[in-house]
Amino acid sequence: MKFFFSVIWAVIEKDLRVELRTRESLLVMLVFALLVLTLFSFAFGPGLGGGEAPIQAGILWVAFLFSSVIGMSRSMGIERESNGFSAMRLTPADPSALFFGKMISIFILIAVMEVVGFMALAVFYRAKVWENLGALALVAFAATIGISAVGTLFAAMTARTRIRDVLLPVVLFPLLVPVLIAAVKATVAALDGAGWADMGDWIKMLGAYDLIFIAASAVTFEYILEE
């Protein structure tokens, strides 16, 4: 059990080191998220701003989802290029510990991207981000856990297929529909300053999704590691 956590930490530390040294993921994710946010504002016209929480939340989460997919496939691309999963498979490390390590490092990447995304939303769309920071952080946390759990599993899987990066969104997005729905609905409630009464059910749904898919992904990750 002691080694379980040291393996998780080793994987996270390694991923963050690689990211600091190569800067291959985060920058692209950030730019991409900002780009999507900007493109939507062009698509909807310049009149968009203030008082349109449903649209803001929708734009935000679509941008986050796309950007997350880029982050995940990059993170798994690093493993593919250096055959990292084979190297990991040769060790006695618990596959689910390896899963949690990858998942948390992907979570950190997405979370950093989301912080910048929320700031951009506040500036570009005049969304009430500052006023509702706590509620938004809660929503983003719950949704990002779900995205990174399922994403880690399937990014690791598609990284080993022929058309990898193209296949990942096709596999991932249908599975993430509940997260998208719940995250958007809860974000709308949070941006409107509505209390737990409006948000609660969606947060609970995200929580349930997170628990179910963390468990399912941690158990099945072992089958992805095999060659």
Binding site: F3, S6, V7, K14, R21, G84, A87, L90, E226
Partner: protein, 239 residues
């Protein structure tokens, strides 16, 4: 009870081609075995199956008579074609990462990495990223990674590939005296299975030789009683 790493009736196919058919093989503790075979004869596949990277379609891999558990992976070390290291990280970072994955206690991690870097003569490269190392140094770095957890059974897939004369001679001397003078902490003998194209070198480094052809074992003999001609004949048999 005899400690050995053994493949029992192992078959593996890729697509529709059988890469291995009903191979039986045993690597006894302390023995040195050379695995010879033409390209595509299934050498690498057998090594990957023994290391646990690949699952056989039929048959099984046993360690001391039991199926290999996750924990038992620490008893096996693999040096593949690929260095299996992260190119943007330094040698030290790579070694320390894998030492942690091998569940070595935190207090021995740093010492272990330095000792094996020392043994393989790459101490002064510890702080250089892998992608700045030459092919020969990379090979030694990969060997250091494979030795890090002091496994009982080493699986070395063409360790001499891409090495120059000097580096090859260095590696040869390491292999000749593999478990000698305090190289491993417990001083117990280590065994290795090695694949190699150079027949004389393979014979001189091993106690036993196994020849694979088209996924089947065609010759098994003690190295001292085997001549280069016998091996070539066995290699030619499969066509």
């Amino acid at each position: 009870m005899l400690a050995n790493l053994e493949a029992v009736g192992v078959s593996r196919r890729f697509g529709w081609r059988w890469a291995l058919r009903e191979v039986n093989f045993s690597l006894e503790r302390g023995s040195r075995v050379a695995l010879l075979g033409a390209n595509g004869s299934g050498k690498t596949t057998l090594l990957r199956i023994l290391s646990g990277l690949l699952r056989p379609n039929k048959g099984e891999v046993l360690i001391s008579g039991n199926p290999v558990s996750t924990r038992d992976r620490a008893r096996i070390g693999l040096l593949g074609h690929d260095p299996l290291m992260y190119p943007s990280l330094t040698l030290r970072e790579n070694l320390e990462f894998f030492a942690r994955l091998f569940c070595l206690p935190e207090e021995v991690v740093a010492g272990r990495c330095e000792r094996f870097a020392e043994v393989l003569g790459i101490s002064e490269r510890l702080n250089e990223p892998i992608n700045t190392l030459s092919q020969g140094l990379r090979q030694r770095a990969a060997l250091a990674r494979a030795m890090l957890h002091e496994p009982e059974f080493f699986l070395l897939d063409e360790p001499f590939a891409g090495l120059d004369q000097v580096a090859a001679a260095g590696l040869e001397s390491i292999l000749r005296d593999f478990s000698g003078e305090g190289r491993f902490e417990d001083g117990a003998p280590r065994s290795f299975l090695l694949t190699e194209h150079d027949i004389p070198r393979a014979l001189s480094l091993s106690d036993n030789v196994v020849v694979l052809s088209k996924g089947e074992v065609v010759l098994r003999a003690p190295s001292c009683e085997t001549s280069v001609e016998m091996v070539s004949a066995a290699l030619g048999e499969g066509g």
